[in-house]
Structure formats: C-alpha cells, structure tokens
Point group: C2
Chain length 335, copies 2
DNA sequence: TTGTAAGCGTTATCAG
DNA sequence: CTGATAACGCTTACAA
C-alpha cells in the first residue's frame, strides 16, 4: 500500500480521475450515485489526498507563517494561541517563525510567502522583512503589536501611548513622584509609545523625569532583574517602577526582594500585558492588561480577509487595554 | 513581475530549464561559466524558487509538525523552542499542532504527514493519533515527554518515576510525614510514573499515603490553585505538597497564601519542570528540573535521523533531571 | 453528468 | 556539460 492517489480510486471506482476530483471538491457536480461510489472506493483503497499536488495547482499552501521573536515568552505564546485558533477554524495551519529578534531570520521566514510555502504572514516585529518595500507587491501581511508604521499594512495593537500614560497616572494618583521606568528595546515601536505616554503623564502632573530614571531591558525576566539592580545603584531611588512588560516586572520584583525591598511597601511595581503569572505573583502584579489572545485572533481574521481579497477598511486596529490594580502598587513610603 | 519561474531564468540566461535546475542543485554538474550566468540571470529576473513544485516532485515538504496540547504552557513553549532550533539548523520549518488536549485534533495534525504537508511528527501526547497502529506504516515519528508506550516509537523524556521519588525524598529528608500530591491528568503516562515514584519513596520510608492525599489537576496554574483549596478542606492537613508541574505549584502557592498559609513556614511546596518563573517566584520554587529545551532538541534530532533513514539504536532516551532546592521547601512546622 | 487533457514548477532520467 | 522530456498528484476548462 505504497502511494494511493486519485488514479487508484478512479480505477477502483471505474470512473475518471476528474470525476474523483469533482466528487471531493464539487460534490454537487456529480451524480449522487457516483459520489457515493467514489467515496466508498476512496475508503477502500485507503486514500489520503496529497495536498502538495493540490497546492501546486491552486497556488495555495494552506499555511500562514507567524514571525515572532520568542515563542517561550508568555505574551507571545498567547498571541500565537489566538492566531492558531482562527487559523484552525479557517482550515489553515500555522508555521512557526521563531526569530530570536534576528532581522535575518525575519526575512528568512517572510520569504516563505514568496516561495509559496505560506499564503500570508503575521508579523510581530517593528521592521519590515522585505528588501523592496514595494507595498503593492507584498504578500498578504498583517502586523501585530508592533507598528512598522507602514501605511498599507494593517496593524493591530493596543494604544500603547495611552497604556503608558494610564499606568503612570495610577502611580501618580497613589502619590508617587519619583518613578523609574524599565523599557523594552527602544527599537520597538510599542516601547517608544509607552515611554511617550509615560513622559506625557509625568509632564501633565507638573513633574520632570531625569533620563537616569529610564533604564533598558529586552522584555525578558532576567533583563528586568538586571535593570532593576542597575536602577538601585543610583543615589536617589525611585519609589515606584513602571516595567514595560510583566516579565520584566516579575524580574524586577525578584531583584527588589533580593536587595531587601518589600513590594509594595518600599517600592511599587507595575507591568504591562497581564500574562497569566501576573495574578499568581507574590504580591499579585498590578498591570495594564492587553487582550493578548484577541489581538492574535484579530490579526488572523484580518489576514484571512485580505487573503480573501477584501480591502481592509482601516489600517490600524486598536484594541482596548485596561488597568488591573492588584497588590504590587501602593502609596509611597513616608519619607 | 508576476510569477518568475525557472523557465524565465532559462530564457534570460539562454540555457535550458534543466540546466537551470542543475545549476542550483548540482552546481558541479554544470560548467563554471554557465552556473554564474544562470545565477546572474536568476538575480536579474528576481527569482524565488517555488518550493511547492519541488516538494511535489521530491515528495518532501520540508516541514515537521509538532503536536502539543498548549503552546501557552511554559514547559511546552520551551520544548518547541528546542525543536525549532534544530529544525531550523536542518532547514526544516515547524508546523504548530496546538491540540488543547483534544484527541481529534491530534489525529487531524498527525494526518498532515499522510497528506504530505509534513515529513515527520513530534508528538507530545500519551496516545497515538493513528487509526491503524501498523507500526511499520507509520510516518517518521518521535514521542516526547509522554510515553505512548509503543515499542518502535522513539521517546525522549526524563525518568519520571525517579523524578517523583527524588522530589518526595527531599520532602521526607526535611522531616515531612504528611505529604499531599497534586498530579496532572492520570491519563498522562508521566503523571502516573511520577505518582509511582512518589508512592515508592513514601513506602520506602515506612509510611503510608491515604488516597485523599492525592488530588487531581490538569497541569495548569489555575487548576493547581483549585486543587490546593480542595486539599485544604480535609481535617488533617499535609505539611508539604508535591505538585507535578511548576505551573501547578505556582497556583498552589497562590492558593496557600490566599488561605493564610506561609510557604515554606506553614507548608512546603515542590514542583517539577523548572520553568523560568520558578526561580522568580516568591518564595523561589524548589523543583525537579527537566532539561526541557534539550528534550525538544533531542526529539528533533532523532526525528531527523529517522527521516534520514537511520534505524534508531534505542527506543527510549532518558535525559537527566535534577533536584533544584530553592526556598519553597523547609522542615515542617513544630506541631 | 462524466471524461479528456493541459498544466502548476520542479526534479531527474537519459540521450546528445 | 547540456537539453529534451517525462513524471509528481491534483484541479479545471472544455469537450463529449
């Protein structure tokens, strides 16, 4: 029982190979009897369609590729779950493009569209992985979370600027005046927007931030811990730390404990994302929640719309974020 | 610049299409000059090979599919990272088969091998997703973490029984006599083996465990929290809880705090996996570390060996686990 | 309603 | 060293 193809079932059923194909794809273009005959024969010979053949012919692979820095990151993983759910509904499979932040890998995975291994791309990066940015010659593409800022490429994300401002205002309302921030890579659009929001909120409160209050991490827990230790070296310490992701925040709280600071008594910490572990942290982490899985799902839906030939009505899709106050933030300690 | 194929570059270079193909795949079977000419022409016309065509012809898709319950689970995500790394090295792409534990989805994804969308399968499940288990007619397949227990299917995992025993002995050595366990689904082979190890270690210490000391979860954090609350309902409480995953353990510690228990003063907690957040937990979680990423990588290597026609030398590959003592375990409280 | 036949883009065999 | 040419398995006008 090596390879069974449509020809085998055609022979078995005593019909032409075209009829077999029709019986599967256009069931109503074939007589009821023949269809049953074909289906039965197919079962008898143990047929499984070879999708490569179909794909070659129809020029549709049935795959989409998601280009993302790190599947092991909680937020990213959740985006993927959202994407996968919709893709599965639509009968598509998802190819994993784990880039570890490498631009080269981003291009490599993006090339899968050109080479017909994928019909569309969901891009979780701030840069476009194409040499020629001829926007009209791009494959179906949607940009998630990280604006590339290219007109003509749909993007779905939260309003990062507002999210940054909201988190900051929460701290401000609590009475904090010395707020530090641990950002992600500044190449990241969302990091920059969050920082804008932070600055705006601080300015709005009539305060000033020294740039030594802003320290960099790369969205990982470990880097968050390191950045925190760096922050604590300064002579005048902040009373609150705004971390640009929950992973950073969890690393931050860990480092704080290591240096003998109690959260939130000695120092408040707030994150962004609302990953699952945020609520299980000790203390439970105050954060700005993103509808992560929904962002992924939305990306996928838009992508499929584009692949179906629809012209998207809008380029940027903003999903709602929400401040979730838990127990890692409190008023600053008495001086 | 619609579709450029080898025929276009053949025309441009003034050679036959066969020569073009050779220039790419068997560079030494073509004169140095022609090869350069072809390569130049290819660049000029903007050629990208269509892998569907090649795949159809060679009957190799260049993809492997990984069938896994939930990408958002930290341990699973890390397995995938390991797999992806090796696959990428080998020039393969990975298709994501997120099953949410559904046997139907497992079969669905496994079918991608039959339909030629994937050349091999990495299966993170305890059951075989095939109707006919004709072991000789199976596609290249390796089983990770969860023994299906089928002879002839390579499996890589830690020694779950020993891991379970080691964790238990750690608790025992600390002086605990009342140990509860929160297992994963008992359909899972690894859960069963860990439980075996637990029972063996307890028996070895001359103790007995009532079955009301064993409670079930599904490897998620939330279920770990629930299971813990259930456990605390009993009149005689344990002094230590052995959780069969770190996610469970983190949920457990959360629930414990919620009920006013301090870890490890009032109750010790130990997990399995050593996910990243284990060390960032408060208190840092004592756990039995799995070489998770390496397990994934090993699965992939074995799979590629099989796909290369090698007959695996052994069916079960045990990777070393290691007890990592952090701060969530301590001697039981004085009575 | 069913069959014939022409590809889809690539690889591989076999002559020149 | 190079070039016809026949597959690979399927879809799809078009014809019968």
């Amino acid at each position: 029982m090596a390879k069974v193809g449509m020809k085998d079932i055609a022979a078995e059923a005593g019909v032409s190979i075209a009829t077999v194909s029709h019986a599967f794809r256009n069931p109503d273009r074939v007589s009821d009897g023949t269809r049953r005959k074909v289906l039965a024969a197919a079962r008898r010979v143990g047929y499984t369609p070879n999708r490569l053949g179909a794909s070659l012919r129809t020029a549709r692979s049935g795959n989409i590729v998601v280009i993302i820095p790190d599947v092991a990151d909680s937020h990213n993983a959740r985006l993927i779950v959202g994407i996968e759910r919709i893709a599965h509904e639509k009968g598509y499979s998802v190819l994993l493009g784990n880039t570890r932040g490498s631009a080269a890998r981003e291009r490599e995975f993006a090339a899968m569209a050109r080479s017909r291994q994928a019909d569309g791309i969901i891009l979780m990066s701030h840069r476009l992985p194409f040499d020629a940015a001829g926007a009209d010659e791009l494959p179906p593409l949607v940009n998630g979370c990280e604006f590339t800022g290219h007109e003509g490429i749909p993007c779905v994300a939260i309003d990062d600027r507002a999210a940054g401002a909201d988190a900051t205002r929460h701290l401000l309302a609590l009475g904090h005046r010395e707020i530090a921030v641990i950002t992600g890579d500044m190449a990241s659009t969302s990091s920059r927007k969050r920082l804008e929001g932070f600055r705006a909120a601080v300015a709005e409160a009539g305060l000033a931030v020294g740039d030594d209050r802003i320290v960099f991490a790369d969205y990982t827990t470990e880097s968050g811990a390191e950045a925190t230790r760096e922050l604590l070296l300064h002579r005048d310490r902040p009373t609150a730390i705004f971390c640009f992701s929950d992973e950073i925040a969890i690393g931050c709280m860990h480092a704080l404990r290591g240096q003998g600071f109690a959260v939130p008594r000695d120092m408040s910490v707030i994150g962004i994302d609302d990953i699952e572990f945020a609520r299980y942290a000790n203390p439970p982490l105050t954060t700005v929640a993103q509808p992560t899985e929904e962002i992924g799902a939305r990306c996928a839906r838009i992508l499929f719309d584009i692949m179906d030939g629809e012209r998207p009505g809008q380029w940027v899709h903003i999903l709602p974020h929400e401040l979730v106050v838990r127990e890692s933030t409190a008023p600053p300690p008495e001086p």
